[in-house]
Amino acid sequence: MGLARRAPEWVCLISNCRLELYPGGGMGSSEKIKGSKETPDEDQPSRSGVRLVSLVGFGAVLALMGIIGAESVRVLHSIESENVEVTRDYLSRHHALDRVRSSLYLSGTLVRDYLLDPDQGRARSRLAELQEVRAQTNAALDEYRGDGLSEDVPQLATLRAELAEYWKTISPSFDWDAGQRRSLSYRFLEQLVLPRRDAMLRLADRVDGMNEAVLKAGGLRSAEIYRSFRSRIVAILTITLGLGIGVAGLSIMQILRLERDARLRYQETVRARSELENLSAKLVDAQEEERRTISRELHDEVGQSLSALLVDLGNVVATVPEENVPARRLLDTVKKLAEQSLQSVRNRALLLRPSMLDDFGLVPALRWQTREASRRTGTIIELAAEETADELPDDYKTCVYRVVQEALNNVSKHSNAQSVQIVVRQEKNRLLLSIQDDGKGFDALHTRGLGLVGMEERVRHLGGVFVIQSKPGQGTHLRVDLPLRGESSGLYG
């Protein structure tokens, strides 16, 4: 009645629990998050926001580090090439000036040789050399000019003008004859040529000094580039560090939240599991109650009616004369049918739940069960249950009875056992059951049929321990240790 109506609700509750137990699966997980108060609805979008922010943050940190690297390479390269260029410029200008200077010395010497040489022919050749030196000097100056540095242009122009003046001063002497050279040359050299030449050499030195200044300036420029690079790097590093700290903080927060979520989910799973166990225990109880009711009704109602029917049939037969063969035959058929029905009702009722369990208790029911199994299968089944009270709490009786029933079922179905030993012993505060067979056994570590799971569940629900030991070829030993409620609370309470 009420039981039958409640059962479908339990089934659907259990299926809900299963959904909660496996949050990986589709709708179940989203329902579960909505249902739980610690993980509110708006959590989902904010979590994806956090994910986006931390992704962007990590990306930015990596990008900044890349920028720092690239910038360093670029700046170091530009400093290096700047240095090389400045040095090369300096050296080329320095060389040009050197050549100018040496030409000037040479020109002084040549002028002197020319003036002092009495031989007209040799003087001519000196003059030709002098002209050549002049061209070289101009070329060197031009070369220097080619680098085009504005800073030393005034000095350079002065040098150039002085040089022109120098040549202009010297050139009248080129037309001199030997007599003129002899009489004029000393004064000419002393008063005009050498002072001018020395002045020009000093000028060239000044230009060289300028050159060095330019070199120094080049060094300073490199230092400037480096300084600006350094401050840029410091700025970028500061940003990177800040961003890194931010991203790390965010990640830690995220991890902590995930940990908390995982803990909540675990607790939820544990709770769901215990609910599931309770529900399945209730289901088992309900099933047992229904079996009891149906068994009793079959036995007491249907069975009694069939018995009455049989008696009355006998009475009817007595009133039918023996000569009425067809009627007698018909009545005989009906009687056989009623007998068969009664037999089948009785067997059905016993299979559902043997009446001895409720009428006399556990041990008579177990005796019946072992006799039946022995009769059915031909296995020798010994039951030792001398020290067990018949009056045990109903759930204990039922639990032990059903475990034995299932075990004997397994023995007859799978084990090929020759004999089975069943021992039930009641101690001060516990009830022990042991079922041992000499059958072919099985791999108890890896095989768990539904029957075993059901037995274990019944035992666990009463706070008991269920142990099954079996190996292929070595039989099976099943042990149950049930704490007894009344006594244990008396002992410890």
């Binding site: 036995h299 069975g303 009694q304 018995s307 008696v311 009475n315 009785r346 043997p354 001895m356």
Partner: protein
């Protein structure tokens, strides 16, 4: 038929009205049977047994208020001369044993009541026991199977011829005194034999002994 033959006075106890009517009809077809009262539960059965002191009570097991086995126990104590025939739906020996311990003399399955009830009532009225053939067959088969499986020696072999004789008489429901008279022995000798029998067979009470006799097919 009142031709001097004492009729057997019967009390019917069954909660099922149709069943009671059927049983009454069945029993009363015997000219020497008389159904003196009907009870619809165990308690009423005990009361009516007090009122009528019947020779035989035909008792259902499953009854409201007081079940048949308890009612049997009370009637057996109050009226040792009244024999109880148990009518039961159960074949199992736990029911047979309890019925015998409560003091019943016969154990009938309802399936075969129509066939066996008359014989059972006559048997218990004579002080004998009676079991439905289906029940005694089952008990005997279980016993034999158990002996075969265990490979034990049947303790019946340990009994002397005289002891076997006495065992059968006791199992059939005779008292020590009846046996002494029947075999021309002293009551003391019969009692000594009886305790030897129980000891050799590992039994404790007369119901144990009756059940043993049924299993051994000494009585049927």
């Amino acid at each position: 038929m009142g031709d001097g033959m004492a009729s057997i006075r019967i009390l019917l106890a069954d909660d099922h009205t149709v069943m009671r009517a059927g049983l009454r009809l069945l029993l009363e077809r015997q000219p020497d049977f008389e159904v003196v009262a009907e009870a619809e539960d165990g308690r009423r059965g005990v009361e009516l047994a007090d009122v009528h002191a019947p020779d035989v009570v035909v008792m259902d097991i499953a009854m409201p208020r007081l079940n048949g086995i308890e009612a049997t126990r009370q009637i057996a104590i109050r009226h040792p001369q009244t024999a109880v025939v148990i009518l039961s739906m159960h074949v199992d020996e736990s029911y047979v044993m309890r019925a015998l311990k409560a003091g019943a003399r016969a154990y009938l399955l309802k399936d075969s009541a129509e066939v066996d009830l008359i014989g059972a009532v006559r048997a218990v009225a004579l002080g004998k026991s009676f079991f439905s053939p289906a029940v005694s067959k089952l008990l005997a088969e279980d016993y034999v199977r158990q002996l075969e499986r265990k490979g034990e020696v049947d303790s019946y072999e340990l009994l002397t011829a005289r002891e076997r004789e006495i065992l059968q008489l006791l199992a059939e429901g005779q008292s020590n005194k009846d046996v002494a008279n029947l075999l021309n022995l002293s009551l003391y000798t019969v009692e000594t034999h009886r305790s030897h029998i129980l000891q050799k067979l590992g039994l404790h009470t007369i119901p144990d002994l009756i059940l043993y006799a049924v299993r051994k097919r000494i009585i049927r």
